[in-house]
Symmetry: C2
Subunit: 322 residues, 2 copies
């Protein structure tokens, strides 16, 4: 029997693909190229049984119509805005994602940004690098304590709950807002109290965004919401940039409406608006929620396993129910 | 009956001292002065029943000999290297410290430095502030995952255990080295494995120093120990500067002997050696382990309570057993 053909759109480290490469005929972009272009994939796809798409690679009707043999699209991400899932379902093509590997590293980054803002770690690190710009006295360089403070989590799914677990270990109280209230056992695990968005904003010392980007969550934090927050509160966003009105946030940070912010995602692409980069009370990271060496290996193994299990049986992370 | 007289060496916020000021006659340094000088205290001390000393204020034989009424020295810190405790004991003067309030904020800072180094938070924040200096691609800006990594804690007292609690919540495995092995129940709480220092250095992905500064712990991490660590490992020091040979550490960070370091304390006073401030793989904070607004209030209440309970009955945090 001829080996199944798998097309990988992005040039990843090969380690995580070992089993896939042993079983199937796997095509990666040529050495030196970061990824295949859309047109290259469009030309090759008629021959392939499986596609491993990167989160920013568009898998649209045109591509699927050119792929008579395609049975599975294994997306390298938890999100899948890049795929026309409805059309895939209509054509009987399975779509899978990678929810497991992203949970813990994203929750770690959220916790890291929370600690960095509460305790001013990045600001003080920057200032210590300019000799003479930091005074060390008992009432200088003061941050805020996590212990006893209230963390408001907007979006209490896997990542929100993984963050809650870390925050509880640091002595924080958990409140949350979610489309659906969690069951009692899950609430009890974190001592989590369900609140309306308004109440959450008013009582929280830190607000973390862990919700997907939908029409409902677009600008869920804007000027009005920032004014409902405490002047000592911090905002952390490791979810999606458009959840926050970035210009309104920069203004709130500049004027002391809130105390600080930690942002891994930005409203307009990969970079923050310039005004944010000039503020001391913000910590900025370039969308590194899952950027660890270990997760790169784990996600490659995960997208591979979704393809192998699809063809040979076993659990797969289904996005569309077929 | 005349009110007891309490001398406070440092000009702190008054909030935490409310009860003390209501009960006793409390003297603070004059407005605008940071603290009393040693000579000022020496001149005033004959009249005082209690002294609230700051951690860097020397309480020596000469001062105690000038204080016939002095019954208690309530030190504002967990450490008490500033006090001649043996002589105080000989003179029947009670010495107290503040172990409780410092535990959680110091463990938070250790966790913050661990996350900042593992995930390169401060380095990436710095680079995002210089437009064009960060590329956002799938295999750039990679850090390391905490989940499944091994944290080696040197000094498994209150702070070490508070750090272990946070690290376990992030999915880390705990190994530790301590003067005395912990009891089985405590080990089980953190799944902590007792190792020799050598073994700990070899197996840990992160090493955190949480031991006091003694003759035994001086330079517990030097060139030799750094070479035993993994090239992917990080070192975190929130304890005392002299535990680390700072020049050897800077060399190890420059040459890639270890991956990164997070330092809140420095070998030679308040500031790091210049070479450290030029490295990207180090996160530096200016001894802010307990520098939070909430802890400043809490510690003031705590030193006050030690004095009130000493005179009126109740628990005090004894340094010397009288």
């Amino acid at each position: 029997m001829e080996k199944k053909k798998v097309l990988v759109t992005y040039n990843m480290w090969r380690d995580g693909y070992a089993e896939l490469m042993q079983k199937y005929d796997v095509t990666f972009p040529p050495e030196g190229a970061e990824s295949f272009t859309y047109d290259e994939v469009l030309g090759m796809i008629p021959d392939y049984d499986a596609l491993q798409s990167m989160f920013n690679f568009p898998v649209d009707k045109r591509l699927m119509d050119a792929a008579p043999k395609l049975k599975i699209i294994s997306n390298y991400a938890v999100g899948y805005d890049n795929i026309d899932v409805a059309y895939a379902t209509q054509k009987g093509i399975q779509v899978t994602n990678t929810p497991d590997p992203v949970t813990e590293p994203t929750a770690d980054l959220a916790m890291g940004l929370l600690l960095a803002t509460f305790r001013r770690i990045s600001e003080l690190d920057r200032r210590l690098r300019t000799p003479g710009s930091v005074k060390v006295e008992l009432l200088t360089n003061l941050g805020h304590s996590l212990y006893g403070a209230t963390l408001g989590i907007i979006g209490m799914g896997r990542i929100g709950q993984a963050l809650a677990r870390r925050a509880v270990a640091a002595g924080m109280k958990i409140v949350y807002h979610n489309r659906h209230r969690l069951d009692e056992a899950t609430e009890r695990r974190y001592g989590a109290v369900y609140l309306s968005l308004d109440e959450l904003l008013r009582v929280s010392d830190a607000v973390s965004l862990n919700a997907p980007h939908t029409a409902e969550t677009y600008h869920v934090i804007g000027a009005e919401e920032l004014h409902k927050m405490k002047p000592t509160a911090v905002l952390v966003n490791t979810a999606r940039g458009p959840l926050v009105d970035e210009a309104a946030l920069a203004e709130a940070l500049r004027t002391g409406t809130i105390w600080a912010a930690g942002l891994d995602v930005f409203e307009h692409g990969n970079y923050p608006i310039l005004e944010l980069t000039r503020l001391d009370n913000v910590v900025l990271t370039p969308h590194v929620g899952t950027q660890t060496v270990e997760i790169r290996h784990e996600m490659a193994a995960h997208v591979s396993r979704n393809i192998i299990h699809f063809f040979e049986g076993g659990h797969i992370d289904k996005v569309n129910l077929l």
